[in-house]
Symmetry: C2
């Protein structure tokens, strides 16, 4: 039975200077391969803490994946520590050295320093994982039936090693159970109301199928997770439950795939061979970048006018100066004119227009911080709605985007 | 000596479905208050795992902060577990119940169910932390000189409790050492080259001042962290070192504050009372949303034209159809015309225009995936530069944005 723990090393994780997105990516890939992650631990750049952490995690797990602490600089102590932990001796790895030299001489066009050369040193008792995307090699140790892998903290370097070396190694050396996750997305209903609606379903689940509620920005994702030895049997069983679950929350179901709202809207546009443009004030391009984060979005997305100022609204979207002056930028009339202006200028099939006050300041009499008007539609018809979000700037922006995308989704259906 | 550990609970963290941004936020706030975080651990929704984790972390730390697992649904086991762990009995807290009823009856306009009422239950031996932003109360336990706090996993609910209750409690009950962090941002130089430049400085640092390298998107942040009992003395000492460090990397210094590139550009625009507009193709609004994530950005930012399609480039920015046809959208000529079009239409003082191929597909002969043209400037002058990024779509977009902002920064200086 494979049990994995992820250790991330770096003071920056403990002072909150960076968010640990590496562990999430690793966990996702491991789960897809049927490798369950038991724990994730973050420790600082401290010899004793790291040493103790390795001891402890060895008791919890038989696969210990480590990222971080392999850079060229003095705050990196992972390599000497691992060398001592596994009682090895540092040697220079010829292939890793060749890679360092190639990167500096051919790609960076900079001289190779001693510091860079030392990056090619590895303990003599590890399997070297060559780094195809950077200078620091990875190291794989085996001891007492347990596997330890140390990888750089730079996300795309770690990702290359996980994909090319670590996951194939684990698949080869362990008998993996099957893990199946099926996730759906709901909109417009709270966690506790869903729980009441599906109470009997949930009670009737067998112990090897678990249900999780993942609330986020007015949406709740529901995830069924199942583990077992027989893939075909397990898939069949989970799919049966998943179909029932979808029926139970039918009125609130957005998608039965594990995908965000923007992906749902993107698929809807693509399948209708329709195009979209946006006119964003308060979201400042957030909706545009959500949509364009999807590869190939240029097929259905024409662009956005981010009209942050009055003059941008007037010049780029032909919003009437009098409307702005009499009704204010955050009004039904203005989002309507923004939507019409976007459709007239960009000539897409559908549009989304938003205008609001995201905070922390800027509230007006009758229009408190968090007030947002959204319009969605096409040349035939526009639908508008007023919202009042009560959170911080970032969350208000995200809620505006999600609600706008959902309004368009409903409009298109 | 206060030693803190953060435990986050939830299967979603172990299958990589969500990124743990709660721990980062908590660590940041704790550090600012002089409370060092020793470790962060994530465990699944599993009774034995959570129990064992509490035992272990009690050995490492004397303050154990827990988030997650307090929702209304059946996958939440934290509350009954804590009740048993501290040998308490569940009772209904009158104030928490009043809050639940208020939220459902007055805010959500939905009937209160039994499930919601049970959210107001707490172990009788904890101090209740009222939740001003949601239904589930927090719980604070004290045992054998150690403090345990359980908070909801919903970020803004947890944040409210940390700010209003937890940090004030810790400040009152522990003697806190001072922690000072000073961070600067460099651009255009790698980690190992910096290390060579400041080698002697780094060797000369006293043990209570540590230097960390934090590389990210072509930029490296350098952070000095110092701990000590005397705040004034420590500040003076760190500032002296920080001034020397800035001198050593002078040519690459972007800012001596812990702030991102967009904030540096924002300050530069504000201090010049100048305005900015952007014309984005390949970044799809990413630059606009970076800038508008800054509160008050409407003062210096007019807006963006996200011209994803040819027709949006022509209609909204008056890019010449012949230029697009002969040179292609990713060309020096087109970004120049985009920049000029943005300045003409939006009438800001400065502009940024970008066009590129972000991948994974879309490469052309002579223009491989990752090719980007950037123009920055004003009505008098435009500067252009060609880049070739070699990463995935998301990273290419981020690198384009950072380089564009840096080009504008250099242009303005």
């Amino acid at each position: 039975m494979i049990k994995t723990t992820i250790i991330t090393i770096g003071d920056e994780l403990l002072i909150g200077q960076v968010i640990d997105s590496n562990s999430a990516w690793m966990a996702q890939q491991l789960n897809q391969a049927g490798i369950a992650v038991l724990r994730r631990v973050a420790v600082g750049d401290n010899w004793d803490q790291i040493w103790q952490c390795l001891d402890e995690e060895s008791r919890h797990a038989n696969v210990i994946l480590i990222t971080g602490g392999l850079g060229p600089t003095a705050d990196d102590i992972t390599k000497p520590l691992l060398c001592k932990y596994f009682a090895g001796t540092l040697r220079t790895d010829a292939e890793a050295l060749q890679n360092v030299k190639y990167l500096f001489e051919e790609v960076f066009k900079r001289p190779v320093t001693d510091r860079n050369v030392r990056q090619a040193e590895v303990p003599d008792n590890c399997t070297v994982l060559q780094n195809k995307r950077g200078t620091a090699p990875g190291m794989l140790f085996e001891r007492s039936g347990k596997v330890y892998v140390s990888m750089p903290g730079v996300p795309h370097e770690m990702q290359g090693m996980m994909t090319d070396d670590v996951i194939p190694f684990l698949k080869k050396n362990f008998t993996l159970p099957f893990i199946i996750h099926k996730t759906l997305l709901t909109f417009g209903i709270g966690e506790s109301m869903i729980a009441d609606m599906i109470q009997d379903f949930e009670k009737g689940l067998p112990p090897h199928i678990r249900l999780a509620y993942l609330p986020n920005y007015g949406m709740v994702r529901l995830r069924l997770s199942a583990t077992g030895p027989d893939k075909a049997q397990l898939s069949k069983e989970v799919m049966e439950k998943f179909v029932i679950l979808q029926e139970l929350i039918r009125g609130y179901l957005v998608t039965n795939e594990d995908e965000p709202m923007e992906k749902v809207v993107a698929k809807l546009l693509s399948s209708n061979k329709a195009t979209l443009c946006t006119a964003e004030s308060c979201t400042g391009g957030y909706i545009a970048q959500l949509i364009t984060s999807i590869p190939g979005s240029s097929v259905f997305y024409d662009g956005s006018v981010v009209s942050y100022s009055y003059k941008a609204k007037e010049d780029l979207l032909q919003v009437n100066h009098n409307t702005l002056a009499s009704k204010g930028a955050v009004s039904e009339e203005v989002v309507r004119e923004m939507a019409k202006g976007a459709l007239a200028n960009i000539k897409s099939d559908y549009t989304i227009a938003v205008s609001g006050i995201m905070g922390p300041d800027g509230g007006l009499p009758g229009k408190p911080v968090g007030t947002v008007w959204i319009a969605v539609g096409n040349n035939e018809k526009l639908t508008t709605q007023r919202f009042h979000f009560r959170f911080d700037r970032q969350k208000n922006i995200q809620l505006t985007a999600v609600n706008a995308l959902n309004m368009l989704r409903v409009f298109m259906l």
